[in-house]
C-alpha cells in the first residue's frame, strides 16, 4: 500500500514500515494503554489523509450534510420556497423535521438550501484567498526588497481591521448578495494567506535543495513551481480548510445582520435572522439551522486537524 500520492516531501519510511508490518494484523492480548498509540509510520498523501481518524470524523459529519443538500429536490420535503398556510409555525415533527416558519415553509429544506450557499461561499473564499495568497506571498517572500515591502505594507493595513468588521465595511461598498459577499470575505482573508505563504517561502528560500537547484542554474520559474510552491501546499491546505469554516461563519454573521445574502435567496444566516422575531413562539426556526452551521464548522476544523496530523507528524500528540 505504499504507492500513495505524495504531497510535498515524503519521508523515507519504507524501512520502518517493513519492520512494523508483522505487529499489525493481530493484537494478541488486550492492549495496555501505551499500545493504543499510533504506529510510528508517517505516510503522506490522500490515502493517508482519508485513513486519519479526525478526517474520518470530519467526513462523517460533512458527507451526509452534503448528500442531503445535493439530493434536496428528490427528498420527500416541501420545496424551500413553498408556503403552506395550513402548517404555519409547526414545531418539529416527522413531516417537518425542523418545523415550519411563519409562512408554513419547511425549515429543514430551507436549511439545506442554505447549506449549499454556505458551502459554496466557504469553498470559494478558501480557493480565492489561497490562489491570491500563494501568488502574492510567494512573490513577496521570494523576491524580497521593495516588492516585499510594498506588498507587506498593504497587507498590514488590511490586517489593521478586525476581520468581520473589514467584511462589513467592504460589503457596505460592494453591496449585498452572493458574489459581493464572497468578494468581501475573500478580500478580508487574502492578507492572512499572503502572510502565511510569505513566511513559508522565507523559511524555504535558504534550504539546501534550493541552493542545489540554483547551482545547476535552474531558472527562477522552475525554482518557484517545482521546489518552493509544492512545499508550501501542506500548511496552506490546513489554513484553507479553517478559512472555509471561518468564511461560512462570517457569511452567516453578515446575513444575520442583514448585510449579506438577502431573502428570498436563502442562507443560514438570514434564516436565523428570520426566526429571531418569533424566538419565543417558534424556537426551532432560529436554533436548528444554527446547529447545522456549527456541525459544518466543527467538521471543517477536524478536517484541517486531520490534514495537519498526516502532513506534519510532529503535531500528533
Amino acid at each position: 500500500m505504499a504507492g500513495s500520492l505524495s504531497l510535498g516531501r515524503s519521508a523515507p519510511v519504507t524501512l520502518r514500515r517493513a519492520n512494523e508490518g508483522p505487529m499489525r494484523p493481530t493484537s494478541p492480548a488486550p492492549p495496555p494503554a501505551t499500545q493504543v498509540r499510533k504506529p510510528p509510520v508517517h505516510r503522506t498523501g490522500w490515502r493517508a489523509i482519508l485513513a486519519n481518524r479526525k478526517t474520518q470524523i470530519a467526513l462523517m459529519i460533512l458527507v451526509p450534510i452534503l448528500v442531503l443538500a445535493a439530493l434536496l429536490p428528490w427528498l420527500p420535503l416541501q420545496a424551500p420556497l413553498q408556503t403552506n398556510l395550513r402548517a404555519m409555525m409547526k414545531p418539529p415533527s416527522l413531516t417537518f423535521p425542523f418545523g415550519t416558519d411563519r409562512m408554513g415553509r419547511d425549515v429543514l429544506s430551507r436549511t439545506l438550501e442554505g447549506v449549499k450557499v454556505s458551502l459554496f461561499v466557504g469553498f470559494s473564499v478558501a480557493f480565492i484567498s489561497l490562489v491570491f495568497g500563494v501568488v502574492l506571498g510567494t512573490v513577496s517572500g521570494f523576491f524580497g526588497k521593495w516588492v516585499d515591502r510594498a506588498i507587506m505594507t498593504v497587507v498590514d493595513i488590511f490586517l489593521a481591521f478586525p476581520s468581520l468588521l473589514l467584511a462589513i465595511g467592504l460589503v457596505s461598498i460592494v453591496g449585498t448578495g452572493l458574489i459581493p459577499v464572497i468578494m468581501a470575505i475573500s478580500l478580508a482573508d487574502i492578507p492572512r494567506f499572503v502572510r502565511l505563504q510569505r513566511s513559508l517561502v522565507l523559511s524555504l528560500r535558504t534550504r539546501a535543495y534550493i541552493d542545489a537547484a540554483r547551482t545547476v542554474k535552474a531558472p527562477q520559474w522552475w525554482l518557484l513551481t517545482r521546489h518552493v510552491v509544492p512545499n508550501t501546499i501542506a500548511p496552506l491546505l490546513v489554513a484553507a480548510s479553517i478559512a472555509a469554516a471561518n468564511a461560512i461563519l462570517v457569511e452567516a454573521s453578515l446575513s444575520f445582520l442583514g448585510l449579506g445574502i438577502m431573502p428570498p435567496e436563502p442562507s443560514l444566516g438570514n434564516l436565523i435572522r428570520d426566526g429571531q422575531t418569533y424566538l419565543e413562539q417558534a424556537w426551532w426556526i432560529s436554533t436548528l439551522p444554527g446547529v447545522v452551521i456549527l456541525a459544518i464548522a466543527i467538521s471543517l476544523h477536524f478536517l484541517s486537524d486531520g490534514i495537519r496530523e498526516v502532513l506534519d507528524p510532529r503535531s500528533r500528540k
Binding site: I157, A252, G290
Partner: protein, 315 residues
C-alpha cells in the same frame, strides 16, 4: 525599550494613516457618490448638484482628503448624512457602553479560562485524559458556535424562558443596577467564545511548561501541587496567554457588533449597522477607521507588554 516603543509608535502611525487613506479613497471609488447614495431617487439633477457642493464633493479629491485629515486630527468627524447629528457626539455616547461590555468580557474570560486551562493541562500532564478531553472538547465546540446563534440561544433560554435577564429596555449607564442587568447576558455570550479560545491556549502553554526541569525542581523542593501549578508553571506560561488576550480583542470587537444587534444595545456596533442600513457613509467611514484604530492600538500595547514580560526579547 524606549527606542523600540518609538519605532513601534511610528509604525502605528503609518498604519493608521494607511487605514484612513484606504478607507477614504475606497469610498470615493464606488459608483455614485455619497450625495446620490444619500438622496436616492428623490432629488433632481440640479438639487443633487447643490447637495454635492454643500458636502464639498465637487472639490478635487486631494483637497477633500486633506480637509478630512484635518477634521480627524481635531476630532471633528463631520455630521451624519441622514440625521445631521455630530458623528463625534454619537460615538461619545455609544463608546462607553461598548467598552464596558468588552472590558467586562475580558475580565470574566480571564477569571474563568485561566484556571480552567491550567486544570486541563494539569490533568493532561498527570495522564488523567478524561477531564482534559472533556474540557478541550467542550472548548472546541464553544469556540466554533457562531456568536449570533449563541446569542439567540441564550436570549431564548435565559431571558424568554427563565426570565433572569431583561431582553429589552433602556440602556442607561447612569442607572448601574439596570445597566448591569441589561449587559450581563451580552457579556456572557461574548465570553463563551473568548473563554473557549483562551482556555485552549492556556492549556497548551501550561502543558508545555509542565515538562520543564524547573517544575520538577519545584516539586522536589516539596512545594504543593497548587503552588507549583500557579506560582511556577502559570507564571512562565504567561507570555503566549498575554499575546492571545491581545489578539482576541479583534474577535471581541467583531462580537460586540453582533451582540449589540441581538440585544438591542446602543453601542458603536449598532451605530455601524444602522449607518450601513441607512447608507450613511460618513458614519460608516469614521466607525470603521475607529475600530481599526482601537485594534492596532491594542496590538501595540500587547506587543509592549510582551517585551516587558520577556527579558529574553532583545530591543
Amino acid at each position: 525599550m524606549l527606542a523600540y516603543s518609538l519605532k513601534k509608535l511610528v509604525q502605528l502611525f503609518i498604519t493608521t494613516l494607511g487605514v484612513v487613506t484606504l478607507v477614504f479613497f475606497t469610498l470615493r471609488l464606488i459608483p455614485g457618490d455619497a450625495a446620490s447614495a444619500m438622496a436616492g431617487d428623490s432629488l433632481s439633477g440640479e438639487a443633487l448638484e447643490r447637495l454635492r457642493e454643500q458636502m464639498g464633493l465637487t472639490k478635487p479629491y486631494l483637497v477633500q482628503y486633506l480637509t478630512y485629515l484635518k477634521g480627524l486630527a481635531s476630532l471633528d468627524f463631520g455630521e451624519t448624512i441622514t440625521t445631521g447629528l455630530s458623528v463625534f457626539g454619537l460615538m461619545k455616547s455609544a463608546l462607553p457602553i461598548t467598552l464596558i461590555i468588552a472590558i467586562s468580557t475580558i475580565v470574566f474570560t480571564v477569571l474563568v479560562s485561566i484556571p480552567l486551562g491550567t486544570l486541563a493541562a494539569f490533568m493532561a500532564h498527570k495522564g488523567h485524559k478524561g477531564l482534559d478531553n472533556a474540557i478541550t472538547g467542550t472548548a472546541m465546540v464553544l469556540d466554533l458556535m457562531p456568536g449570533f446563534w449563541t446569542g439567540l440561544v441564550f436570549l431564548l433560554f435565559f431571558s424568554l424562558k427563565l426570565r433572569w435577564f431583561p431582553a429589552s429596555g433602556d440602556v442607561n449607564i447612569a442607572d448601574p443596577a439596570s445597566f448591569l442587568q441589561r449587559i450581563a447576558l451580552p457579556v456572557l455570550v461574548l465570553s463563551v467564545t473568548q473563554i473557549a479560545t483562551m482556555a485552549r491556549i492556556t492549556r497548551t502553554a501550561v502543558l508545555e511548561v509542565l515538562g520543564e526541569d524547573y517544575i520538577r525542581t519545584a516539586r522536589s523542593l516539596g512545594w504543593s501541587e497548587l503552588r507549583v501549578l500557579f506560582r511556577h508553571a502559570l507564571k512562565n506560561a504567561a507570555l503566549p496567554i498575554v499575546t492571545v488576550v491581545g489578539l482576541s480583542f479583534g474577535s471581541l470587537l467583531n462580537g460586540t457588533v453582533i451582540v449589540e444587534f441581538i440585544f438591542n444595545i446602543p453601542g458603536i456596533g449598532s451605530l455601524l449597522v444602522n449607518g450601513i442600513n441607512s447608507r450613511d457613509y460618513q458614519m460608516v467611514q469614521n466607525l470603521i477607521i475607529f475600530y481599526a484604530l482601537i485594534f492596532v492600538s491594542i496590538n501595540f500595547i500587547t506587543d509592549l507588554v510582551y517585551r516587558k514580560l520577556d527579558p529574553r526579547v532583545k530591543f
